[in-house]
Amino acid sequence: MAEQNTIESSSTPGFIAGSPIQRFLSATEIDTRLVGMIGALLLIWMGFHFLSGGLFMTPRNLWNLSVQTASISIMATGMVLVIVTRNIDLSVGSLLGIIAMVMGVMQAEYLPGMLGFGHPLIWAIALAVGIVCGVAIGALQGAIIAYLRVPAFIVTLGGYLVWRGAAWWVTSGRTVAPLDSRFRLMGGGPEGAVGATVSWILAIVACLGIGAYLIYARGQRHRFSFQQRPLWAEALLAALGCGAVIGAVLVFNAYPWPVRIAQNYANAHNIPIPDGGLFISHGIAIPVLLAVAVGVVMTFIATRTRFGRYVFAMGGNPEAADLAGINTRWVTVKIFMLLGGLCAIAAAISSARLNAATNAMGTLDELYVIAAAVIGGTSLSGGVGTIVGAMIGALVMQSLQSGMVLMGLDSPLQSIVVGIVLVVAVWLDTLYRNRAQ
């Protein structure tokens, strides 16, 4: 039993000899993988900043980056659960296309006729119809996978063709535009951002939330007198979390409305324009808020609910999950329903941003979503993956795209680079995992 004792002492937080870095990591219980990803992201940002001659890390580019990442990162949070259970969904891009089309037709052609043009509920009804569509399509595909035992790869490959075709079929290939003015707020832009004041209020709420969570976690550990994190570690975690939130808000608030839009706004509201132009902050974009909210809710679902626990247990050993009495088929259906619903939110963001629903919308998104999840540490062999990781993965992918555009790289070269980065990232992750074992 001597072996067990030594292992035990090296895995119990708080009692660790070893290097200061190991002690630091175990005291804070920070996920080293996540730190690595954030480090890689910052490296990419600094690299592009340097190569593009200081264009990358500007409020304007970072704000745009955040908006561009929203749609993919929302779908990636759902894709994590799908991949964790050893499934795959190749149909998310097509799903986004058909749902965007359905929502577009609803708000541009049906609802104005029924409720009157510009009715304040049009956006909500269109979005609700879209989410219902997404969940229903997800349920259909999930049921075929779970109950009829057709491999997910095939079902969603079929779905990839079916839903793309359906998106075309709805309007015979016609683009639907313009969209409802309130619906369009979900796409970002000067109007679709919450402004400086609200951004600060949200930042304060987020910081309070971080503090409350840390205190709650301490209370829970105290309840069963488990080992507590040292106080300095708690304080550091709180400082890091709040610092990230405040930093993001500072950046987003530093990006002003374009001069002409600000002028029009000033004229319309009789605001005098000061010397040097009017400075109106964008603040956090609404699609980014949606993505953050989805990330928080999905993290909660994945880590704090029975459903989430079953998803990971199934991914680790499907047979064991079944023998433990988990209704694995129904859980599978629910995962695909969830991803369908998330595709609807992503579709709303994408179409609102474009102010149109086109039949080509979401083309190739499935690959970016899967790549984001995989770069974010989701293992294709199942059982491993985090929501935060996938969202950072989406940010990495989008940063590469955006950075290469700023550098003026040709489009074929961009694809080549993204492809290579994907393979290298997964290879590095494999190395990391092998060493961790």
Partner: protein, 261 residues
């Protein structure tokens, strides 16, 4: 023994199942009384594990009846079996490799807080308590089960089975992955559970283990029951004869699979 006067805890009556054309279990009948250990013996592929998986809900029988406390039981999946208090420790252990010990112990029956979220600390506390009784050396609660040794994984599988007040425990090769010391621990555990009135089916290759622990043995061959005997009434050699040749000794009650004299 007067225990045969009372109602059996489990009666498996004329159970059959076929996979493709192969009759994996063919007209097998077996019963189990409270506080009794019944050993199931036979070669690989004799049908022991299949028979027991029918009881635990992993397979659905083609014909035959299962009675619990004398009443017909409907067991179509593992959830049904658990509802009857039937817990199983599978040969493959069937643990979810990528979650920790507490999550495995409570898999499918998680403790939740007032608002329906997982109560991880409560589960970990309970897991520490149970594992402390079972295997006091076990301390690696935070790590995925994948990282544990064979014996530690075994403790997790056993703890899961006894955590929820099982009445009927099925152990499929419970000591296959264990060293001598851990095997002895499992033996002690079986005696302790037996004294608490739990009925245990013990599947094993090791005839010595079975003779140490079981009250009765049931030998299977080619999907059929060769015979059932009290361990006191037969010798190890006679049981070996049952396993290898299907020859039923005088001390045993012959089943349909017994070699015709």
């Amino acid at each position: 023994m007067n225990q045969h006067m009372q109602t059996p805890l489990v009666e498996l009556d004329d159970i059959s199942i076929a996979f493709g054309g192969i009759r994996a279990v063919d007209g097998a009948s077996l019963d189990l009384y409270p506080g009794e250990v019944v050993g199931l013996l036979g070669h690989n592929g004799a049908g022991k594990s299949t028979l027991i998986k029918i009881l635990s809900g992993a397979y659905k029988r083609d014909s035959g009846a299962i009675r619990i406390d004398g009443e017909d039981a409907t067991i179509n999946n593992p959830r049904d079996a658990k509802a009857y208090g039937i817990e199983t420790i599978y040969q493959t252990l069937a643990v979810a490799d990528n979650v920790d010990a507490a999550a495995n112990l409570f898999l499918g029956r998680e403790l939740v807080t007032a608002i329906g979220t997982l109560d991880d600390v409560a589960m970990e506390a309970k897991a520490r308590e149970v594992m402390g009784r079972l295997n006091p050396n076990f301390r690696r609660f935070k790590e995925p089960v994948k990282a544990l040794s064979g014996g530690q994984r075994q403790s997790v599988a056993i703890a899961r089975a006894i955590l929820f007040n099982a009445r009927i425990l099925i152990m499929d090769e419970p000591t296959a992955a264990l060293g001598p010391q851990e095997t002895a621990q499992v033996g002690d555990l079986i005696r302790q559970l037996k004294s608490e009135g739990i009925g245990i089916f013990l599947i094993s290759h090791d005839i010595h283990d079975v003779f140490d622990l079981a009250d009765r043995v049931c030998v299977m061959k080619n999907g059929q029951v060769v015979g059932i005997a009290r361990t006191a009434d037969v010798t190890k050699d006679e049981v070996l004869g049952m396993i290898i040749m299907g020859k039923c000794p005088p001390g045993a009650i012959p089943g349909p699979g017994a070699m015709k004299a």
